[in-house]
Each structure stands twice: as structure tokens, then as C-alpha cells.
Subunit: 193 residues, 2 copies
């Protein structure tokens, strides 16, 4: 079976550069033989996360589509020096069932110059869920300068994205880590699932 | 005029320990002479943040109440090793107008043993908005063990909370920092306000 790669778009914005960059990541993954799925939160109904109502709206749909993936790429705009709240809403509805021992790639898009802290924070979130996060990550600073006519026009950024799409396929099937210390003690947002 | 201290509750949960801890933080602040305001997102209508619709629901109400504060305490449950998405939703609707040169205190509540990464991530978010974050922070691990009959029953945690409430009042009026390098370049979630 071909590897299945899903992309989770962390922005609700109409003209989201994260969405453009994830589409191109998946295009590379598809060219390497993967089945792909763009999980676009703008097309889903996912209210703000309340652990008293963890099946709200399309929560089940999001979880099912993430669970079907061998590898997941998370793309986020940088909001106030960190990952965007819409992305974390989707992750808070999810948990170990979606991410444990799953290959994860990270991509962040900043209006300004500093996309790194958002990637660090996301890496730490994924580590707490025992995901297997690729060392390679894509940081896109000064994002409005890299897009032309709805696609990435900057060669260096396009190459980083291509590497990410390639590695998501290359490492889609990984050997699970032994259960970690963090894994046992992380209560997470939805400890009962 | 007495200092005005606001608390932003980062959980929508009915039995939120973050809410209990913030109430006690504000009680200490009030006992030191402050006016206080508990901004409880459960009682407000704040949809998932979309920068194309930054005035959605009660966004204006949240911003006005935060702007009125001389000091703000952020309280969050730990969801997947980081701050909770509902809190970041409220912060994403806000920006420099609410947090720049404002005294901020941090408090995190974990079901498990590791509340520190959530506090680190929040500190980094607040730093990007040029807030003046108190060095003292409250970490509450294994939270279900510290609450009895709706209040904090653990002496050590209660003392940390009291220190936080005290310092929010003590440092409510601070000398603004000169504009920082980060501040000039941070595009943030809502760059136009």
C-alpha cells in the first residue's frame, strides 16, 4: 500500500500561505507515491475546544482523517510568536491515538522574521504526544514576499518544502519508540480516549 | 486609583482548576487593594480565531476588559505539553494594545506532572508582545490532588498563588521598556490594530 500523508492547515484565513505551502508539500509527497489528504479546518466545523464536549462538531472527522495517516504535516502561521490557535484547537481534540509513533513534519509561516519559536513550541507539543517529529522543518519568514499567484515563488523555500514532502514519504513507516517517561505521565487534553 | 488586575481563564471546562486558582489569585490581589476582573471565556462568545474576522463575537469585550487592566494574570490548563487552545484564541484576538508594557503573571495547571513547558511557551508569546512578565510563576502539577471543595487545599500551592496575587499588585505600575528589536518585527496575529 502507498503511504498515506495528511496535512493539517493551521489557519482559517482565506488567503493562507500555510495552506499554499502545505498543498505543495503534499504535491511532492504525491510525486513520491503517497496518497494525500489536505485537512482544511476552514472547511470543517470545529468549535473552540472544551474537554467537557470533546466530540463537538467535526471533531470525529478530524480525528479519523489524522488516524488514517502514516505521516502528518502540521502547517501554522505564526501568531504572537507561537503556533496559531486554530491548529491547537484541532490538536487539543486529538491525542495519542492520532500522533503516537506517527511521523510528523512541521512548517511555519511568519509575516515577520521569526518563525522559529512557533516550530519549537509545536515540536514540544508533538514530543509530549510521542510523535516521531522529523528533524527537518520548514520556516518561512517574511511570507508575503515568497508567494506569487498562489504558489511559492522563492527557490530556497520551495526546496525546503520539497525536502519536507520527500522525507514525510521516506519516513512514513518508522519503528515505534519504546514507551517514554513523558508518555506515561502526560495527561493531555483528552486523557480518557 | 487602585490598580486594576484582570485574570484570563484559559479553560472552558465547568470544573476548571485554572478558574479556581485564578479566583484565589484575584482574591489576594483584592486584599492588597486592587480592583479585579475575572475574564471567564466560558461566559463569553469567542469563536476560533480567523484573522479575516477579528471582531467576531465578543472579541471587543475581551480586548476592552484586558485593556482596562494594569496587570493581567493568564491561567491555563496544560493540553498536550503546552498552553490550552481556548486561551490562545483569546490572545490571538488581542495584541500589543492589550499586552505591551503590561505586567503579566502566569499560572499553569497540569493533570500530570509537567506544567513547565506550557509556562515557557506562554512566556515566549507574551515576550513577543512586549509584555512585562513577572519572573515568579505558578505551576500546579497533579492538579486533582490539590483541590478540595472548590478551593486550593495544598499549602505550598496556595502560597505560590498568594505570591502571584501580591506581585501582580506590587508591579502593576512598571516603567515601560524601550521598544525592543522583537517588538518592531513581530507581525502577530492582527498586525493592523
Amino acid at each position: 500500500m502507498p503511504p498515506h500523508v495528511a496535512a493539517l492547515v493551521g489557519s482559517l484565513r482565506d488567503e493562507s500561505i500555510s495552506r499554499i505551502a502545505l498543498r505543495e508539500t503534499l504535491a511532492t509527497a504525491a510525486s513520491r507515491g503517497a496518497d494525500t489528504d489536505l485537512v482544511d479546518l476552514r472547511k470543517l466545523d470545529l468549535p473552540v475546544f472544551d474537554p467537557d464536549d470533546e466530540n463537538a462538531g467535526d471533531a470525529d472527522v478530524v480525528r479519523r482523517r489524522l488516524q488514517a495517516a502514516d505521516a502528518i504535516v502540521l502547517g501554522t502561521p505564526v501568531y504572537h510568536g507561537s503556533y496559531a490557535s486554530p491548529l491547537k484547537v484541532a490538536i487539543d481534540y486529538s491525542g495519542f491515538d492520532e500522533f503516537e509513533n506517527t511521523t510528523v513534519g512541521l512548517l511555519a509561516v511568519a509575516g515577520g522574521s521569526f518563525p522559529i519559536s512557533a516550530l519549537d513550541h509545536l515540536r514540544s507539543v508533538m514530543r509530549s504526544l510521542d510523535a516521531w517529529v522529523l528533524p527537518h522543518q520548514v520556516a518561512i519568514p517574511n511570507a508575503s514576499e515568497v508567494v506569487e499567484a498562489g504558489s511559492i515563488a522563492d527557490d530556497e523555500v520551495a526546496t525546503r518544502i520539497e525536502t519536507l514532502g520527500d522525507q514525510l514519504v521516506q519516513y512514513a513507516t518508522i519503528e515505534p519508540d519504546p514507551v517514554s517517561f513523558e508518555g506515561e505521565h502526560n495527561a493531555g487534553a483528552t486523557p480518557d480516549r
